[in-house]
């Protein structure tokens, strides 16, 4: 268990409190925590092996904080990512605006990163149709336009969550043959990237 073998880097992006952490929690631990909402600080990393056919693919998932505070940091999380799950809250139209921002950002900086648009909290929509603020077809059109996949999920009920991540893993598996030769694995990159040691001065 010493070396963390990660096949595909997956980054979760989206406005704060859309439910990125809950999505990861549901997928990795098959549960939904009820309790006071706690914003993610910085980012959290978790590795999850999953089966694609007879192969095991390990997804290295970066659950990033939605706050603007960490925006500048987000580049290090999506750099070299094979997949980005861009989340928005189906009951909050501004969160979809934010999702568009992330898509633009990814298109500019990470052309090899596949984008998955993920609407969250379908359970709230099911409870009250009027709560929906983001139209399914609008998003679908947008997804087609940018060549992205589109899912609507609920971390509370588990609806569509496994399917989303399964799709991510499968897409990775089928595309991994296409990867340009010579591209370093992410970890390798990380290891080679050592900033000059910084001297700390006391005051």
């Amino acid at each position: 268990m010493t070396a963390m073998r990660v096949d595909a880097k997956v980054v979760m992006l989206g406005k704060e409190s859309v439910g990125k952490t809950s999505l990861v929690e549901r997928y990795v631990h098959h549960r939904f925590l009820v309790g006071p909402y706690q914003n993610t600080i910085g980012a959290a990393f978790v590795a999850k092996p999953t089966h694609v056919g007879d192969k095991v693919i390990t997804l290295g998932i970066w659950d990033t904080a939605g706050s603007e505070r960490y925006e500048a940091m987000s580049r290090i999380y999506y750099r070299g990512a094979r997949a980005a799950i861009v989340c928005y809250d189906l009951t909050d139209s501004s969160s979809f605006q934010r999702a568009r921002f992330w898509v633009k950002e990814l298109q500019n900086c990470e052309e090899h990163c596949k984008i998955y648009l993920c609407g969250t909290k379908t359970d709230l929509i099911e409870a009250d149709r009027a709560a929906r603020q983001v139209d399914y077809h609008d998003v679908q059109d947008f997804a087609d336009e940018i060549g992205a996949q589109h899912f609507e999920t609920s971390s509370k009920t588990g609806n569509n969550v496994d399917e989303l991540f399964q799709k991510v893993a499968e897409d990775y598996n089928s595309s991994s043959f296409e990867v340009m030769p010579g591209e370093m694995s992410f970890i390798q990159k990380m290891k080679n990237l050592r900033l000059p040691h910084v001297a700390l001065r006391l005051h």
């Binding site: 914003n39 600080i41 978790v46 290090i76 605006q97 910084v198 001065r201």
Partner: protein
């Protein structure tokens, strides 16, 4: 004479932050008059923390730039061009959003939805507000910032009005409440507290809140955003940090650590702790500056780079941050964090993990390199393997299952609770809050009493060396010497004679238990 020499030693440690080991004859029956460095709980090696006494600490404005300029590379703003401002402007995140789907009854939302003209809102024991110098709301502990924007506008008007007379507003006293103002440009903090809390204590808490904000943004970034635009809405950058501030305020109300400028340790037998510390050191990696093992706010072990000292205040901020993010529980966290007392200008990068599921044990690995995540993740893995290999795990798990001890162990009649701080090590110990103090309300009341005693002992112009305070339910005794600071709480049956006699008995007991209650052998990489 001897005392003078020791005093100089003590003072020099304040200045240079690197002290020579104090040669100490560790008396078994320490006399209350003993000097710094020989009191129970004093570290045998070099000091673990930056030595700073509470008062200078919180009144001084010295969160200066400590690191070399290149350290700023680690700043959040790196690589961000000015032109990037625009797209973010369009999708500015402002409104308080609904809670995450299905997470019912979030504390934050309940507080935020409160009607700010209701009696319930007014009845809160302590309000804290943060605003910008343009009078824009940044944070309110209760009620939404929008609803309070006019109130905060008035606060800023009062601050500026008094300032315009070349004066500084300090506080407003009312019947049974007080309002305290703290200006930390570019922010203004206002605290409103009911009850007997002194203005100084409230000021300390505001200072913590301010430093909590600095820990998220760094002083440099804070200055920069407001230099760029005075009317900047800081909530954009702070969004999602409200619960951090909220839990920090709760910590300040419950935990004697911030009050005493000290850190508590998880009780752990000396050899077991040494084993854990050795594993922690063994698992190091080049980019590490600090490795911390915490159980809640209690320190289990700390290994640091030889030339760096962690400030207790920074440690409290770190502990609060680690405990306030559910995403860290199951995954490995990686976040930039500023340690305002060590260096308010730049960021460290913290790897946060909870390596023993089901326990509050939290491993914090701090580095100055923002890309060191996997390296530190490997450190964590190595540390866990070493714990297994060296059989250090069992002792640690046992200690985690009983993180406190009963005051009855001390064997002092009528003693209900105490707090003992070793001044040279910056560590304190305190038994479990049991019996009458099991409710939150009673715990806060006791803390309030300790705060009152602390205010009297450390009065800016008339400090005391000891104080005895009687209420109809308690008898309290507090004492401060060059070596230690002690607060004792007795039942209503206690007397001053009992209290005075208890001091030496307690010191003797702490001496006996010191290798379990304190970290006597702090390590460096």
């Amino acid at each position: 004479m001897a005392a003078d020499v020791d005093r100089q030693l003590w003072e020099s440690t304040n200045g240079s932050l690197s002290i020579e080991p104090v040669c100490s004859d560790r008396a078994d029956s320490p006399a209350p008059g003993l000097v710094s460095g020989t009191e129970p709980g004093a570290g045998q090696e070099t000091a673990m923390f930056a030595h700073t006494e509470s008062f200078e600490d919180l009144t001084a404005d010295t969160e200066g730039a400590g690191l070399e300029p290149q350290e700023r590379e680690a700043s959040l703003q790196e690589g961000r061009g000015e032109d990037e401002e625009e797209p973010r402007e369009e999708c500015a995140v402002i409104g308080r959003q609904q809670q995450e789907g299905g997470r019912e009854g979030g504390v934050r939302d309940k507080d935020k939805d409160e009607d700010v003209t209701s009696d319930a809102w007014r009845a809160h024991r302590k309000h804290v507000f943060v605003l910008s110098e343009a009078g824009k709301p940044i944070y309110s502990r209760y009620g939404s910032e929008e609803a309070l924007s006019s109130t905060m506008g008035v606060m800023m008007a009062l601050v500026s009005f008094v300032q315009s007379g070349d004066n500084t507003i300090r506080s407003i006293q009312g019947d049974g409440y007080r309002v305290v103002f703290l200006r930390r440009s570019p922010l203004v903090l206002v605290g409103v507290s009911r009850g007997s809390q002194s203005a100084g204590q409230l000021l300390r808490e505001l200072q913590y809140v301010y430093l909590g904000i600095v820990s998220l943004l760094s002083a440099t970034q804070l200055q920069r955003v407001f230099a760029h635009r005075q009317s900047y809405d800081l909530r954009r950058l702070l969004s999602g940090s409200e619960h951090l501030t909220g839990s920090l305020l709760r910590l300040l109300e419950r935990d004697p650590g911030p009050l005493l400028s000290a850190v508590a340790c998880l009780p752990l037998p000396g050899p077991a702790r040494d084993r854990v510390s050795a594993c922690l050191r063994q698992a190091r990696a080049p980019p590490l500056t600090f490795s911390l093992l915490l159980a809640g706010t209690r320190l289990v072990s700390l290994v640091r780079r030889r030339d760096l000292h962690l400030h207790h205040l920074d440690l409290h901020l770190l502990a609060n941050m680690a405990a306030s993010c559910s995403a860290f529980r199951e995954a490995e966290g990686w976040t930039p964090v500023c340690l305002p007392k060590l260096n308010a200008a730049g960021f460290f990068h913290a790897h946060v993990s909870f390596p023993l599921p089901g326990t509050p044990l939290c491993l914090l690995l701090l580095s100055t390199e923002r890309e060191a995540f996997f390296e530190l993740s490997a450190c964590k893995q190595r540390f866990l393997e070493l714990l297994h290999k060296r059989n250090a795990l069992l002792g640690l798990q046992e200690a985690l299952s009983c993180p406190t001890y009963s005051v009855a162990l001390v064997g002092v009649p009528e003693l209900r609770h105490f707090v003992y701080k070793s001044r040279s090590s910056g560590l304190y110990t305190s038994p479990e809050l049991e019996g009458p103090y099991s409710s939150d309300e009673e715990q806060e009341r006791l803390m309030c009493l300790y705060q009152q005693l602390h205010s009297r002992l450390h009065h800016p112009t008339r400090p005391l060396s000891s104080i005895y305070h009687t209420t109809h339910t308690h008898n309290l005794y507090a004492k401060v010497t060059s070596g230690f600071e002690l607060y004792l709480c007795f039942s209503a049956l206690g007397t001053k004679a009992i209290a005075e006699a208890a001091v030496s008995k307690l010191l003797k007991w702490i001496r006996k238990e010191e290798d379990r209650l304190f970290i006597l052998n702090p390590l460096t990489y």
